[in-house]
């Protein structure tokens, strides 16, 4: 028995009517079992044609005042980023806070932070797709876009953190006339190049393939011939034939299969930057799973942040319902507990290893001069998400929003703690030192948010922010099949005229 046959939810108009619990009909299921009818994924009694209009609308009309305000703020921060980078390239790494014991600072922290954010998109689109989690359809497009833009933000940091960034291309191993200059395959930084570029490319391909039918929808709705032509080219001349759908579905499945291992491999390799070193506090085998979980954790937090805006300002409440938010809150709580478990395991191993160096680094982390950062990290990541034990909190928009922001603050500080506290007091007490961010570190950190939001707002402006074809697939046909009332009225009015 499929869910659609007996949906009692045709009249659910918005998410205030959702409960987050299925209706249980005792004994009505197969073989005399209970029948659970989940709540609908799309509310508001939407028809299929409503979906086209609601979602394509933002790409079709002149942007709202709110969009312009948001875009100009984002663009200002992007300008700050560009100016800071000009200064950085002109005068050198000296403008930053890094120094002799702490050779990596905010740039590597930001890099790991953004790469982590990028994980949720692929997880939602690929892993949840393979696990047939239908609630992913409302959020996967935006989450994948977030992944791409986060990877773009992350991608600039390993380049700009180089002392001579203009030679960054030396890291690409291709036959060349510079000696030939070859790279050192022993170095985790060389592995990073492959990991990140693969991830970026596969995510982009996956995202774009998913976009094809929706681009065709935008094309079909377009009235201006140029607009039609551009979106037609972007959708590769999508016809919507059965053959096209057949190929599309298998391509999507294959790409999901390819992207899934990348969710785990990228951050594993990023963690090798630290784990393969000899620095106490970095040299730990727990890093790969710990980094992957942290990445999913922070990525889901960012999705919640963005979805709060999408629901609030883009009228997406019928497609990204409170049930979606609650599902994400559950993942946030689970990954938050796993992260907390990783923190505790690290401490246990530091003690259990009996290594003086290791033990000192962890004591210093929690109780040394950067204890405040550890406190922020532990509170935001391991304690704050515990609020989601309460269903009411999982379904409270503001609580979700605040927690999602705090989690990302906490995850930024997690990287701060890992990078800074391990370096600032290492083997020789004589070389110990302190690290702090300069105004240019802050400018570039906030500037990277400017880049992220500029890209995201352009995405919202020009592309369908929800996967139209996929959402249609999870709607109740009994509700969605009939023509929308306003269209019936419009057609009638047209015929009368």
């Amino acid at each position: 028995m499929t869910r659609h046959e007996a949906s009692p939810y045709a009249t659910v108009m918005d998410d205030s009517q959702l409960t987050g619990r299925p209706i249980v009909l005792a004994g009505a299921g197969p073989y005399g079992g209970d029948l659970e009818i989940p709540e609908p994924l799309v509310t508001g009694g939407k028809k299929w044609s409503d979906v086209d209009r609601d979602i394509c609308m933002h790409a079709e009309q002149f942007p709202t005042k709110k969009w312009w305000i948001a875009f100009s703020v984002a663009l200002t921060f992007l300008g700050v980023l560009v100016f800071s980078l000009i200064l950085l390239f002109y005068s050198g790494m000296g403008i930053l806070g890094i120094n002799s014991p702490v050779g990596w600072g905010s740039f590597i922290i930001n890099f790991v932070f953004w790469i982590g954010i990028g994980h949720a998109g692929t997880l939602i689109s690929a892993v949840l797709f393979l696990f047939r989690q239908q609630w992913r359809t409302g959020i996967n497009r935006a989450a994948e876009a977030m992944t791409l833009f986060a990877v773009a933000c992350a991608g600039i940091f390993p380049i700009i953190h180089l002392g001579r960034a203009w030679f960054a291309y030396w890291l690409v191993p291709y036959p060349n006339a510079r000696g030939p200059l070859w790279i050192n395959f022993n170095s985790p930084l060389a592995w990073d190049i492959f990991a990140i570029s693969t991830y970026g490319l596969v995510s982009a391909a996956f995202w774009y393939v998913g976009l094809l039918p929706d681009l065709a929808t935008v094309r079909d709705r377009a009235t201006h011939p140029w607009r039609k032509a551009i979106y037609n080219a972007m959708s590769f001349g999508w016809t919507g034939s059965h053959r096209a759908w057949r190929h599309y579905e298998s391509a999507y499945m294959i790409l999901a299969g390819l992207a899934t291992p990348l969710v785990f491999s990228v951050h594993t390799i990023v963690s090798f930057d630290f784990a393969t070193s000899v620095m106490p506090g970095w040299h730990t085998t727990i890093f790969p799973p710990y980094f992957v979980i942290g990445a999913i954790f922070s990525g889901f937090a960012m999705v919640i942040t963005l979805m709060t805006f999408m629901r609030g300002y883009f009228g997406m409440k019928n497609y990204v319902t409170l049930n979606h938010m609650e599902s994400m809150a559950k993942i946030l709580m689970l990954t938050g507990m796993l992260v907390g478990f990783a923190y505790s395991t690290e401490f246990f191993m530091a003690w259990y290893s009996g290594s003086e160096w290791e033990g000192f680094v962890f004591k210093n982390r929690a109780f040394g001069p950067y204890g405040w950062a550890y406190f922020i990290m532990f509170t935001c990541n391991a304690i704050v998400p515990q609020i989601f034990w309460w269903k009411k909190m999982r379904r409270h928009t503001w609580v979700l929003f605040v927690v999602s922001i705090l989690v990302n603050v906490g995850m930024w500080f997690e990287r701060y703690v890992i990078v800074v506290t391990s370096l600032h007091r290492d083997y020789l007490p004589s070389s110990w030192g302190m690290y702090s961010l300069t105004r240019w570190d802050f400018a570039i950190l906030f500037g990277s948010f400017g880049l992220f939001f500029t890209l995201f707002l352009l995405f919202v402006r020009f592309l369908p922010v929800v996967a139209i074809s996929e959402v249609k697939g999870v709607m109740d046909p009994k509700v969605a099949r009939s023509a929308p009332t306003d269209t019936v009225a419009a057609v009638a009015a047209h015929q009368e005229a």
């Binding site: 005068s91 403008i95 120094n99 002799s100 002392g163 890291l171 790279i183 050192n184 000899v278």
Partner: protein
């Protein structure tokens, strides 16, 4: 300036030209315009140097009994706090105050560079609730001075001390206004300056000033971190290896380097090292190490390839020290045991820096050097992070060259200051033509004076001598050359009968951080303390 034929001065309208010539006329004791003067003047210009007559020997000084009478003028030792003024170790009275190397040289004990501070006994310091750098007013009655405070291990409770030679007002771009001028506190007693035992009072005043420390923690707990080999004479007599105990490392996954020919290595005898730091300056002069200035030291960007770590040895105690031992608790710093350890690139056999560089900019040579290739370095700084000895130095700025943009110089005044420090005055002439001047964005570190090694090799080729092994003394790096006590020995450890091989095999030898299996090329020889009366 154009040269002139003897007897025919070039007509020059410049006032400065005449002034300069008049000055040299006085120095050469010749009349300007005479052929003798022109010949001598041209010779000075040509050679670029001038050797004046040897100074006359000072007249023999007889004991002046009258001087003894002056002792009466010296005030009696005060009962309270006494101030001692001591010459700065590098600058002395300050006459070379415009030399950036001397300012950058960290005091061997306080480890302060670019300025000085009032040394206060740790107990008094803690009682006054001071922090390093808090401003303190020193009142000697006849003069007052505000100086930053420094918690100086081993100071007597009733003593404070301040270095002389700082705070010059008219000195030049580099040294002007650096540090407090302690001459203001000197007492003239009976026409004689008095610099010691001055009765003073001190009080905390508002404000603080960052001190340019060239070192992190002062203390070493050798139970936890056996990084300096130290023992006592009686322990040494019982066991020659005493003091070199450390945590053992595991097996190595890396293949060993073969070293078919020479293998360069160093041995540093800590019993001989007195921490004077001449090796540091010698290295800086030889290897074109830039000056980073006070702000550079505070920012933690010292460039010195060599440093002398100064530790206060935490005394043995029952059980373990808590983590706060690193902050210098009173039991450690009131009667400190000072250890000096020259620290430079250890040229590890399993160098952690070599494996992590994605650009292969640092690699192992077949004669055992850990080489840094500047034009291949792109500046990931991963090598420096992974260096357990933190001896790698990154060029955060373009030190050797002035940058022009007024906007960026206004945004970052350090750009202007770096150019001043490295290109003005004496510093224009500091560069060794045998050594590359590194540009910004690249990593650098001790090269074991590779230019001298390669020169010795070229010489051996020229003279038809062995290029496989080099005798002792064929290569002397700058630090070894500068060391007045002969604590540093450098040579080819594979050469039969070489001194460094004997020292590396000596029971006193310890290679650091065996726990992580880096296998340094530098052996530290135990400092043996005499515990017998």
């Amino acid at each position: 300036m154009p040269g002139a034929a003897a007897g025919k001065p070039v007509p020059n309208p410049s006032l400065a030209w005449h002034f300069l010539r008049a000055g040299w006329a006085a120095r050469l004791a010749l009349e300007p315009g005479t052929p003798a003067f022109e010949a001598a003047w041209n010779e000075v210009l040509r050679s670029g140097s001038f050797q004046g007559p040897a100074p006359a020997a000072p007249p023999a000084r007889a004991l002046a009994p009258a001087a003894l009478a002056l002792l009466a003028a010296i005030p009696a030792a005060p009962a309270g706090l006494e101030l001692q003024l001591y010459p700065h170790l590098a600058l002395h009275d300050g006459q070379h105050g415009n030399n950036a190397w001397l300012h950058e040289f960290p005091d061997p004990i306080t480890r302060i560079s670019w300025g000085g501070a009032l040394s206060i006994a740790p107990r008094r310091f803690d009682e006054m609730k001071l922090a390093n750098g808090d401003l303190v007013e020193v009142d000697a009655g006849h003069g007052k001075l505000v100086a930053p405070a420094y918690r100086h291990a081993g100071m007597h409770y009733d003593q404070v001390a301040l270095p002389l030679g700082l705070g010059r007002t008219a000195c030049g771009d580099i040294g002007g206004g650096v540090g407090p001028n302690a001459f203001a506190l000197r007492l003239l007693a009976g026409g004689r300056p008095l610099s010691a035992g001055l009765p003073v009072t001190i009080r905390k005043v508002a404000g603080s000033e960052a001190l340019a420390f060239a070192q992190g923690s002062d203390v070493i707990d050798r139970e936890a971190r056996p990084l300096v080999p130290v023992t006592t004479l009686s322990a040494y007599e019982a066991n020659q290896k005493s003091g070199t105990e450390q945590q053992a490392g595991g097996p190595s996954a890396w293949p060993e380097h073969p070293y078919p020919n020479a293998r360069w290595a160093m041995a540093i005898d800590l019993s001989k090292c007195n921490g004077c730091g001449k090796c540091v300056i010698g290295c800086q002069a030889e290897n074109n190490v830039p000056v980073v200035g006070r702000r550079g030291i505070i920012d933690g960007r010292e460039m010195s390839w060599m440093r002398i770590d100064r530790y206060y040895d935490a005394p043995k105690k029952d059980g373990r020290w808590d983590a706060d031992v690193w902050d210098g608790p009173l039991p450690v710093v009131e009667e400190p045991q000072v250890l000096f350890e020259p620290m430079l690139c250890q040229h590890c056999e399993n160098a952690p820096c070599e494996t992590v560089c994605p650009f292969v900019a640092t690699m192992h040579s077949e004669d055992g050097l850990n080489q840094q290739i500047y034009n291949r370095c792109v500046g990931t700084r991963y090598c420096a992070n992974n260096c357990p000895f933190k001896v790698r130095r990154f060029n955060f700025w373009e030190y050797g060259k002035a940058q022009e943009s007024a906007l960026f110089r206004a945004l970052e005044p350090r750009i202007k200051r770096n150019a001043e420090l490295n290109t003005r005055g004496l510093m224009q002439m500091k560069n060794n033509p045998e050594v590359t001047v590194r540009n910004r964005g690249v990593m650098e570190k001790c090269s074991f004076c590779i230019q001298r090694i390669r020169e010795a090799r070229a010489e051996a080729t020229r003279d038809g001598k062995s290029k496989v092994h080099f005798p002792d003394g064929a290569v002397v790096p700058a630090c070894m050359e500068a060391c007045p006590t002969g604590a540093i020995t450098f040579g080819d450890v594979n050469a039969p009968g070489s001194k460094v091989a004997a020292l590396a095999a000596h029971p006193r030898a310890m290679k650091l951080l065996e726990a992580i299996n880096v296998k340094p090329s530098i052996s530290y020889l135990t400092k043996v303390r005499n515990d017998k009366a």
